[in-house]
Symmetry: C2
Subunit: 103 residues, 2 copies
DNA sequence: GCAATAACTTACTAAAAAGTAATATAGTTA
DNA sequence: TAACTATATTACTTTTTAGTAAGTTATTGC
């Protein structure tokens, strides 16, 4: 079981190579969103997975999380500089899917 | 549980959004490779996962598989046209990782 | 003073992914 | 004739991922 990365691609995949992470990052490209609004943009994600995934993205410094101390709670998510640097990749993945599924 | 794709990115992720698929496709960018050679380029992948993954890629038309009827067996894998169309994305993912991990 | 609210959090269960190790194949070479 | 080879395949177990449903919070509006 070799855990080292064989190439930078491996490193990238360890960061964002999951089912939900690219989707969440993609929707944040249009701007910061409240937790509930962002979650509604991702059909099929469960409450648990949503929280878990954004928290991992936050831990990895790809998104930031702003908590407004009000009741009921208000939380906003947005892309960090590091997250924004994925923009081209995220849009390429989306465009590729768009073209490919038309064939 | 909504299973429909919310955007083309979702479609793309369903095709290649796993731990090993992008890695395998990436190594095939340099040209066709024998099964064993390709597998050795992917540290940490088990025998089972390797076979399983290339077979899925084949099923999805991203790679082709050529079997030479010799003993011991010889099998070559290569990118299909559809697989090749992922080149920019794969290289972007690799380059992103390269730049990011230097910070 | 009680329900409604948004954003979790937790405990528990179920499902999916991955690892391990044994087995198959059949010509070639020692 | 027995071992060696490359490429799987299979059965089984472990690990990881994900889903479900209930509970928490503290203020506001009724």
């Amino acid at each position: 079981m070799n855990k080292e990365n064989s190439c930078p691609l491996n490193y990238t995949m360890n960061l964002i190579g999951t089912k939900w992470k690219p989707l969440i990052l993609f929707h944040l490209l249009e701007g910061d969103l409240r937790s509930g609004v962002l979650q509604k943009k991702i059909p099929g994600i469960s409450n648990k997975m949503f929280t878990q995934t954004v928290r991992e993205l936050e831990k990895d410094g790809l998104v930031f999380r702003t908590v407004f101390p009000v009741v009921p709670p208000k939380v906003e998510y947005g892309l960090s500089k590091r997250g924004e640097s994925l923009e081209d990749i995220l849009r390429s993945l989306d465009t590729w899917g768009l073209n490919d599924c038309q064939d």
